[in-house]
């Protein structure tokens, strides 16, 4: 299924040239799309559909499975423009929830602490480099990305995650509320019999 996603996107990019569609593409390519209501709607409905489908197919409702589903739907909504979305779709078993053990930083790094570093602006200091390393681990699919691109991917990832949180909160709220309210209404109506 994920294989079908990239090709229609590319075709669309080639053919669409009218101003309206250009605007849509432009708004689809920036970071701000994640803040729009439209994307929120699209995501929540797609997530809902996926949930129903997974409900029907498998009996168990594990959190991990649901998490993966949610991440994949988010990546699909990104429409292949960002690296992290492609990584999530390409390797759904490993991306995002990688439990590999990472090698500890070597002890030689600590020698830096003894000597005060004089030149601060020559290159990215190891301090910043280590943080970038940590960031690379967090954002899926960005393990070998340069600092520049990494920051760009991170910003898009953050906005997308925020939208995901909003949408999932809304869905859980609705579902829990729906269940909480409906029986009481029913109860009320039944009780009045």
């Amino acid at each position: 299924m994920p294989n079908l996603e990239p090709s229609p996107v590319f075709k669309r990019r080639k053919t669409e040239g009218d101003p309206v569609s250009v605007h849509r593409i432009q708004s689809n390519q920036t970071m701000k799309r994640w803040t729009t209501k439209r994307e929120h709607q699209i995501y929540s409905s797609k997530l809902f559909q996926a949930l129903c489908r997974s409900r029907r197919t498998s009996s168990s409702t594990s959190a991990k499975e649901l998490h993966q589903t949610a991440d994949r739907v988010l990546a699909i909504t990104a429409k292949g423009t960002t690296r992290w979305s492609r990584a999530i779709l390409a390797a759904p078993l490993t991306a995002g929830t990688n439990m590999k053990k990472h090698k500890r930083a070597k002890v030689t790094v600590h020698t830096r602490l003894r000597k005060p570093v004089v030149n601060r602006e020559k290159r990215k200091l190891p301090v910043v480099e280590r943080k970038l390393k940590a960031l690379r681990r967090l954002v899926p699919g960005c393990r070998k990305l340069s600092c520049n691109n990494l920051l760009e991917e991170t910003s898009d990832y953050i906005v997308a995650l925020e939208m995901q949180v909003r949408a999932m909160t809304a869905i859980t709220e609705f579902l829990s509320r729906g269940e909480a309210q409906a029986p009481t209404d029913r109860l009320g109506s039944i009780g009045n019999m």
């Binding site: 209501k37 439209r38 709607q41 929540s44 409905s45 809902f48 559909q49 949930l51 129903c52 409900r55 029907r56 009996s59 409702t61 594990s62 991990k64 649901l66 998490h67 949610a70 991440d71 200091l125 301090v127 910043v128 943080k131 940590a134 960031l135 967090l138 954002v139 600092c147 520049n148 920051l151 991170t154 910003s155 990832y157 953050i158 906005v159 995650l161 925020e162 995901q164 949180v165 909003r166 949408a167 999932m168 809304a170 859980t172 709220e173 609705f174 579902l175 829990s176 509320r177 729906g178 269940e179 309210q181 409906a182 029986p183 209404d185 029913r186 109860l187 109506s189 039944i190 009780g191």
Partner: protein, 361 residues
Amino acid sequence: MESNAGTTETRSNVTVSDGGEVAAFESLQFTEEIHRLISAPATDNASSFTALLGLPATQVVELLHSPESVKLIVASAPNVEDFKGSFHFPSNTGLIQKDARFSVFSGEGNNKNEKSNSPEMTSKNSSANLEKAVKSEPAETASSLPLVSDPTVENRNIKRKDREKKVKGSTKKSKTATNESLEDAEKLPYVHVRARRGQATDSHSLAERARREKINARMKLLQELVPGCNKISGTALVLDEIINHVQSLQRQVEFLSMRLATVNPRIDFNLDSLFTSESGSTMDGGNFPSLVTPLMWPDVQVNGYRQQFQHQWHFDTLKQPIWGREEVCNNYVTPENSLLSYDSSANSAATLHANQLKMEL
């Protein structure tokens, strides 16, 4: 001289009309003529030569503009005069060099006049380059050849803006440069063109500065995204905050997925009904958190979004304009019915509710 000028003009006109490789070849011959003019004793010809070259210089520029394969940095004629550096004009398409290289051409030692220097230099250089490109020339050009040789790579910058900076800087400093070069005569041929005043001059530092500016711009964007990062100064701390924010978001998603897994029982219901009930529930109460209302945008907005949404997810039911309380109740009944009908796992909340209902009855 004027007849010569006439012939050169006509020839250049011809080349303009032809275009392509023919133009290049024609321009070669054109520059040959110039070269002959150059080899003549200089001082007398200086004034007339510049007058002669006043026109051809611009036409040279135009000439080399017409075959589109040639890439020039200076677009207009006045720049040719102002610009003290010299161009390397590749003559053939196969020999095009993507990056322009700048070097101040130390003249043949004859002309002290700056203005005369520049068009002459440009034409000389163009001639030198063209000949160098296509065929070897006698020793007259031999002195000019090493002057425009490759070691000027140091000045080469791939980025255009850096080139422009050098253009600006060169106007200030090339005077001294040409004087120095003229003093050295045939020894040190070229002087590196400097960048802006007060800034580091290597291509390396320029490139690094551009890169740093890009990274700083991205960091600013991130700072705006992450709450509370605006006050923090320093890359490392900001990155710390970013990492914390990403981790917290991921944890939130995980927590929500766990919650969703427990809340969501095993139900097989009608999507339409559920969406209608979704929209109905918002109409209900003011007690809803603001997070829920985003889901109900199809109701609130009456525009193209809605139609698209409808097209995708069978939203015909949404066309009902008014959601009264009873309708809400009715819609709630349908999922409730389905809940009752699919009384599956003991763990599901639905079965609990169903059991409670049965007990009530």
